[in-house]
């Protein structure tokens, strides 16, 4: 690591102040992406602003029609939460599939979606469940949030405060993990939400996206058979050491099918 100044403020106002005063500063949530990057000397923030001492970012609340999860809630806590398991079990299972036990004890929801790694799991849930991202400045709908490779709608010095997941009628997440990193080679969330059927894919493209052809097919018939004729276009899909774009295209169909199967389709 390179040298840096460490801050552990207790209010969001203080966070904003530090960020405004230091343009090479970075926010530290769980550190599961940032710290390894710093240790490999691929990132050189002048300041780290640790959010862990700020009240009000670590709650899980059932607001009646939604589950609101604070940005600093650890994956292990989402996975183990009675509230989440009862209302959106697919979300608890997704959280439980992230990384490994050590990563889950530290990694956070806010950190994950602010970073928006193309292979991370949470974006599929945020997009698939039609969540609303609350920041320290505004609210952003999931459909407006994921923009591109490591690119979100967040502006400079804007941070995620919580994510509100509307309770779906039903939802399931199927993931094909990278055997080495256990990130999602392809992860598909299928959800029947108040705003309709949503199918969100992570791991396959530059960022999480909705597979509209699959949504259309499942809209006509919610069954694995309905997926039979669909072949995803491999053209814009990720291609790397672990999976070609052709294989990913295939896996999207398989994972979507598994999610549908779990939901009785």
């Amino acid at each position: 690591m390179y040298e840096f100044n460490y801050h552990r403020p207790t209010s969001l106002e203080d966070v904003s102040e530090i960020l405004a005063a230091n343009d090479e500063a970075k926010i530290l949530a769980g550190g599961m992406t940032l710290l390894p990057t710093m240790k490999m000397r691929l990132a050189q923030p002048s300041d780290l602003v640790d959010l862990s001492a700020i009240d009000g970012l670590s709650d899980i609340n059932d607001t009646g029609d939604a589950i609101e999860i604070g940005a600093m809630v650890r994956h292990a806590d989402v996975a183990g939460s009675d509230i989440v398991q009862k209302a959106i079990p697919a979300l608890a299972e997704l959280a439980n599939s992230i990384g490994d036990a050590q990563v889950r004890n530290r990694g956070t929801l806010g950190g994950s979606i602010a970073n928006s790694d193309p292979a991370s799991d949470y974006p599929a849930a945020v997009l698939g469940l039609d969540a609303v991202i609350k920041t320290n400045k505004r609210e952003i709908a999931a459909d407006d949030y994921f923009k591109g490779l490591f690119e979100t709608a967040l502006e400079a010095n804007e941070l995620v405060v919580s994510v509100k997941f509307p309770k779906p009628k039903k939802a399931a997440y199927a993931k094909f993990p990278n055997p080495a990193s256990r990130y999602a080679v392809v992860g598909v969330m299928v959800a029947e939400t108040d705003s309709g059927l949503r199918v969100a894919v992570t791991g396959a493209g530059a960022c999480a996206y909705r597979a509209t052809e699959i949504e259309a097919a499942l809209g006509k018939s919610f069954s694995t058979d309905a997926l039979a004729g669909i072949s995803m276009d491999a053209a814009d899909l990720n291609d790397d050491l672990h999976a070609s774009s052709e294989y990913r295209a295939h896996l999207i169909g398989v994972m979507a099918g598994r999610a549908v199967s779990t939901l009785g389709g």
Partner: protein, 788 residues
């Protein structure tokens, strides 16, 4: 069985410190006033250093010195030596390029050492390394065997045309050709043994500590063989005589072969320590290990098996190209030749064998021994070829093997590839494996898997390996530049406790336990009263270290021989004390007893008498009770066995799951069954890793793409099932313990067992081959190609 003696599953003495965080690894050691070394490594696979400017680095805060290859060369530092010379078939010696610890003029692989910064803190050294200005001429590189052998390929070394280090052969080409001429059928295979990165849990580290008062050096290093390092570094690189160089390998967190070799960093820290007259400490990070620890395997072969009408193996011919990397590592040339081709008979009676091996240079990290070292490559080739032969001939794969096994009454058996096997019973291993694997009911399990939409396959592999390396004269004749004996000293202390000094080194093998069991068995001394000292050239007389599953078979036997000398002397002392004749004294229950009487003396009293010789035969016997033995083995040992693997494949994704794994191994006499089982578990897991998960990937320009755990997939506990492990014992005929060694077997037999199972599972698609690692995409693509 003696309590805590040979055969007992005693819990390991070393585990207490390992699992309570009290182990002392090289990085735990801190020398007063030490400096930290960070190495600048080449980012290019092949480049000419046009300029190398260290001024800014030298002026950086906390920096005490910066050294380059030019500095070391000017000081007369020698190159890292190769410990095994291979002669080509035409009689010419192998190409042996220089191997300076810090590159001079040209870098030859990503990771090649370019300069070293010494600073007061590691952070200061890291920062300063980035201030070194190197201007490289980027030169074309070759990373793969195919690229290196292509017409007009860029050369790694000017005096290795065609990038060929050696073109070697073994066996009888004429006899083999004759066998093929009369064959009823010929089966061939093109096969790749995939390149692996060892990834021991502990990265390498080294501390050079020069004492200017005594003009003596100490090197702390993560080595499997400190005496070998002392010899190689002292004699060939730094010109330090043995009596002034101490090498200490304390607790070492796994080696698997990757910590055998004399590495540049060992020489760099030792030499640098003298230049600045302060200790110098270097510890690799994991990313650095990926590009500086020797890699393993990386063979491409074409092989053909000639068979008679009845499936009798008549002849085998093999043509292998082996990637040696950019430089010759300490034993690099021996692995794909002596340690590989001599095992091509396998467990079979094939009468005519010929193998040609070309060792080739590429712009990659040097390749050397990795768990199995040559034997996994041989077994994989053979067992895949035999399975293919079974398919072609229509003979059941187990029956085909049995028809060709060397039978128990045919030992000692001289193979056509130099080795003479002492003893074995391969049918018994197969019988045991089949039973333990419940092989007869496989069809049922396949149906059950099918009901869940999964393809189930079963694969079998038999193997043999040559361990207990090695008889020195044989090794010398084959090109080894060192002897391969082992040494052990048994020091009985005055109050009867025992200290053993062994040349074997334990970096996971549990010698502190198993060797203590040998002492308890031989002398009746309480297991807790024995300590095994290893890993320090100042304490242990000599040793060639631990690799090649040689510790029990060579180190353990050296210890037995020293123990026998102790027993002989003890009997003489006891005879004096009991006024009897030494021939009438026997060891029994920790006492020395006059046979047929109850007159005895405790071993502790014998020890005391030796050191306080008041009632003692001083006229005929020296006081003291300490003996040393050097043991040069008469032959290699030949563990062998049969492994059976069952896999389930998900045809939708291509994912292969190992759902059961059975191992029936003949390791000769077993000292500690719990430790042996642990070795099998670990070896099998590494073998499964090679078969399904691990692949070292270079791109065409020599950049390492699989440069971290994110991309290089090591097997985890959830990737393997519980293992069913059993042994059949045919004791080694030529060592007093009857032991053969067990450390590498799992890594040797598992890959072919797994791949044979995968091919079996995919039989309905008529897929008759699957490369390693059989990743989900590869399996899925194979199914797609077969169905389209």
């Amino acid at each position: 069985m003696t309590e805590n003696g040979i055969g007992a599953a005693v819990r390991r003495k070393e585990d207490h410190r390992f699992i309570t965080g009290k182990g002392q690894y090289v990085d735990d050691i801190n020398r007063p006033n030490q400096l930290y070394a960070v190495i600048l490594r080449s980012p290019l696979a092949h480049g000419k250093i046009k300029s190398l400017v260290t001024d800014a680095a030298k002026a950086a805060p906390g920096v005490v010195a910066v050294f380059t290859g030019a500095d070391m060369a000017a000081a007369g530092v020698g190159g890292l030596p190769c410990g095994w010379g291979i002669t080509s078939s035409d009689g010419s010696p192998m190409a042996e390029p220089g191997h300076p610890p810090l590159a001079v003029d040209v870098v030859h692989h990503v990771g090649d050492q370019v300069a070293v910064v010494l600073a007061e803190t590691k952070a200061a050294a890291r920062d300063a390394v980035e201030l070194i200005e190197v201007d490289y001429d980027d030169l074309p590189a070759v990373a793969s065997l195919d690229a290196a052998g292509a017409e007009g390929a860029p050369l790694v070394w000017d005096d290795a045309p065609g990038n060929i280090c050696f073109d070697w052969e073994i066996g009888d080409a004429a006899a083999t050709d004759a066998a093929f001429a009369k064959a009823a059928q010929v089966v061939s295979i093109d096969i790749v043994n995939n390149r692996l990165i060892a990834n021991a849990m502990e990265p390498r580290a080294a501390i050079g500590d020069y004492d200017s008062g005594k003009d003596e050096y100490t090197l702390f290093t993560t080595s499997q063989n400190p005496h070998v390092i002392r010899m190689l570094m002292g004699a060939f690189v730094l010109g330090i005589p043995e009596h002034k160089l101490r090498v200490v390998s304390p607790d070492v967190g796994g080696g698997f072969g990757s910590k055998i070799f004399h590495y540049a960093e060992e020489a760099i820290v030792t030499w640098a320590s003298k230049q600045v007259d302060r200790p110098v400490k270097w510890t690799a990070d994991r990313s650095e290990s990926f590009i500086s620890d020797a890699h393993g395997r990386d063979h491409v072969s074409h092989a053909e098996l000639a068979l008679s009408e009845d499936g009798e193996f008549l002849g085998l011919r093999v043509d292998t190209r082996a990637n040696l990397g950019a430089y010759l590592s300490t034993f690099g040339p021996a692995v794909p030749t002596i340690l590989y081709a001599t095992l091509l008979a396998g467990t079979y009676k094939t009468p005519a064998i010929h193998a040609r091996v070309r060792g080739m240079f590429t712009h990659t990290v040097p390749v050397d021994a990795y768990r199995g070292a040559g034997r996994p490559e041989a077994s994989y080739l053979l067992e895949r070829l035999v399975d293919r032969a079974a398919k072609v001939t229509g003979i059941d794969p187990i029956e085909l093997r049995r028809r060709n096994f060397i039978k128990p009454d045919e030992f000692p058996y001289q193979t056509p590839v130099a080795l003479e096997y002492d003893i074995g019973d391969y049918d018994a291993a197969v019988d045991k494996a089949l039973e333990l694997a419940d092989y007869d009911n496989f069809a049922q399990r396949r149906e059950e898997s099918a009901s869940r939409g999964k393809l189930r396959g079963v694969g079998i592999a038999t193997y043999i390996e040559a361990c207990g390396i090695a008889p020195s004269n044989v090794a010398g004749a084959l090109g080894a530049r060192a002897g391969l004996y082992e040494a052990g000293t048994v020091r009985v202390n005055p109050t009867g406790s025992v200290s053993v000094f062994t040349g074997s080194h334990s970096h996971g093998q549990g010698h502190e336990t198993t060797f203590a069991q040998l002492v308890t068995e031989a002398l009746g001394v309480d297991f807790d009263n024995v300590s095994i000292v290893h890993g320090d050239t100042a304490k242990v007389p000599f040793g060639m270290g631990t690799y090649g599953s040689r510790s029990a078979a060579v180190g353990g036997v050296a210890l037995m021989n020293a123990l026998e000398k102790i027993r002989t002397k003890s009997r003489k002392i006891a005879a004096h004390l009991l006024e009897a004749s030494a021939e009438d004294i026997e060891f029994k229950d920790g006492k020395l007893t006059v046979v047929g009487t109850d007159r005895s003396v405790a071993f502790g009293d014998v020890a005391m008498a030796a050191y306080v010789p008041h009632n003692y035969p001083l006229d005929t016997l020296e006081p003291g009770l300490e003996e040393t033995a050097f043991y040069d083995p008469k032959n290699f040992t030949f563990p062998a066995g049969c492994h059976i693997c069952e896999v389930e494949i998900d045809p939708d994704t291509g994912v292969v799951d190992v759902v059961s794994f059975t191992a029936a191994d003949d390791f000769g006499r077993i000292i500690n069954p719990m430790i042996v089982e642990g070795q099998v578990h670990g070896g099998v897991t590494q073998g499964i890793g090679q078969a399904l998960y691990e692949q070292c990937v270079y791109d065409d320009s020599g950049q390492l793409l699989s440069g971290s755990m994110m991309d290089y997939c090591l097997p985890r506990a959830d990737n393997v099932p519980n293992f069913a492990v059993t042994t059949n014992v045919t004791p080694c005929t030529h060592n007093v313990l009857g032991v053969k060694g067990c450390g590498e077997a799992g890594a040797i037999a598992a890959p072919p067992a797994v791949i044979n199972a995968v091919v079996n599972a995919l039989a309905e698609y008529e897929i008759d081959d699957m490369p390693m690692p059989a990743t989900p995409e590869r399996v899925w693509q194979a199914i797609q190609s077969a169905t389209n």
